[in-house]
Symmetry: C2
Subunit: 286 residues, 2 copies
Amino acid sequence: MEKLLSLFEEYLLNNLPNSKTFHPHFEDALSDMLKAGGKRFRPMLLLSVVKSNKSLLIPNSLPIALGLEFLHTYSLVHDDLPAMDNADLRRGFQTLHKKYDEVTAILVGDALNTHAFNLLANASLSNDIKIELVKCLSSNGGIDGMIIGQAIDCFFENQKLELNQLEFLHIHKTAKLIAASLKMGAIICEYDLNTQEKLYNFGIDLGLLFQIQDDIIDETCTSQEAGKTTQNDTSKNSFVNLLGLTGAIKSADELALKCANILNTFDENLKLSLEELLLKYINRHK
Amino acid sequence: MEKLLSLFEEYLLNNLPNSKTFHPHFEDALSDMLKAGGKRFRPMLLLSVVKSNKSLLIPNSLPIALGLEFLHTYSLVHDDLPAMDNADLRRGFQTLHKKYDEVTAILVGDALNTHAFNLLANASLSNDIKIELVKCLSSNGGIDGMIIGQAIDCFFENQKLELNQLEFLHIHKTAKLIAASLKMGAIICEYDLNTQEKLYNFGIDLGLLFQIQDDIIDETCTSQEAGKTTQNDTSKNSFVNLLGLTGAIKSADELALKCANILNTFDENLKLSLEELLLKYINRHK
C-alpha cells in the first residue's frame, strides 16, 4: 500500500501540468494544489483494484489515477472560491484565489477538469478501455454526479433537507466519484459488467458511510482529536442533526456492516487489497 | 448549409443537459446559454468537413458537434463571471450569474466542460475515432489551448504585449478550438494525419484572421454597423493598437490570401463545403 502510494506520488510529481509561457504564475498555480498533498484516496482506490487482479497494468493505470486526482483537485479549487466556501487555506496552503487571484483559481480548476480527460485518452491502454473510463469519469464527475451534488449543497446551505435529499446530495457530491474510482479500476481489469456494478455500488455505500462518520466526528470530537475544526455545524444539513447522534451512529454501523458483507463477496485478492486500503483511510478519507 | 445548421439546432434542443432534481433552477441554468443562440461556428466547421467526405456520418457526428458547443459555451459562461469580464448580458440574455448567482454560473460551466467529453465518449463512432477526438478537444480546449490564452488575456489586460505575445494569446484563446473543430471533422472522416494537420493549421490561420478583422471592425465601424459596442478599446491589446490600422489591414489581407491559397489545396468537396460556410460566417464568427 505504502509502495503504491509512493509510486503514485512520484508519478504525479513527474507529470505535473506543463504550461511554460510568459504568464508569470499560471504554470505554478496549475501545480500548487496537486503538490500540496492530500490523501490520494481516489487514485489509491483505483490502483488497489488494479493491483489485486492485473498488477502488471499498474504503470499503465497511473495516468488514469492521476486523472481522478486532477478532477478531484479541480473540484476543491472551485469549492474554495469566494462564491462558494470562500476558504483561505486548503491542505495547509493558501488557496489559489488568495495566493494569486480569482481568475487564476477559476482557470486552474477549468484546466484540471479538461486535462483529466487528456490524461485518460493518452494512457497506454486499449481504446476500448479508455472510452469506458472517459464515460465513467465524465458521468460521475459531471452533471449527474459531483456537480449536481455541489449545486444542491450550496443552494440548500441554509434550508433543511429531508433524509432522502441529504443522501442524494452526498451520494452525488462525494460518493459517485469514489464509486467511479473503484469502477474505473474494474474497467482496467476488464471485470465483467456485473462485478463493475458491484464495485460501483460498494463505492456508493462507502462514500455515504464516510460522510456519516464525518458528521459524527464533527459532533463528538474536539478539534484536536479530529485534526480539523469541529462542532461548528449545529445548523447545517448533517446526518447527526437530522437523525440525532444515536440515529447517525446506528446508520453508520448498518452501512459499515453492509460494506463489510459486500467486501466478503469479492474474490480474495480484491477483498484483501481493498481491506488494506480502507483500514488505512477509514475516517481520514478527505 | 442552412439545412446542416437546422439539423444541429434540432439535435441540440433534443439533447439539452438533463438533471431533474429538487434543485429549483439548476437544470434550467444548464440549458439557458445553449438555447440562447450563437452562431454555432465550431459545430458547423466540424459538420462541414464531415459533410464533404462522409455525409452518411453526419448523424453520428452531431454529438461531437454538440460537445464542441458545450465546451465553447462553458468558456463563455466562465468568461462572463464577475472575476473576469463581469458581463451582464450574453447573446441578448442575462448572464447566468446575474439571472441566478455566481455559484450556479461556476457549476454550470464546470458541468458543460465535463459533459462535453461524455458526449464524445457516447457517440456512435468507433472507439479509435472517439479517443482521438477526446485527445484533440482536451488538448486544444485545455491547458495548452484555450485556458492559457484566457489566462494571458486576463492577466495582461492593462499591460502592453509584443506582437508575438498577442498572436500567442489569440492562437490559444480562440484559434486552437476553431482548428480543433476542423481537425475533429477530419478525424471522423479518417483523413490521414497529414490532411488532419493541414486542416488544423488552416484553422489556426483562420482564427487569427477573424481576430484581426474583429480588431479592425472595433476601430472602423460604428456600433450600429458592427452590431455590438465598438471603439471602446483604445488602450487594450489589439492588433490595430499594435500595428496601426494600415498595418492591421495589411496583416489581415495577407492572412486572408494565405487562407484562400490553403483552401485551394484541399480536395474539391472539402474546399466547396468550407467556402460555403466561411462566406456565411466571415466577420460574424463569434
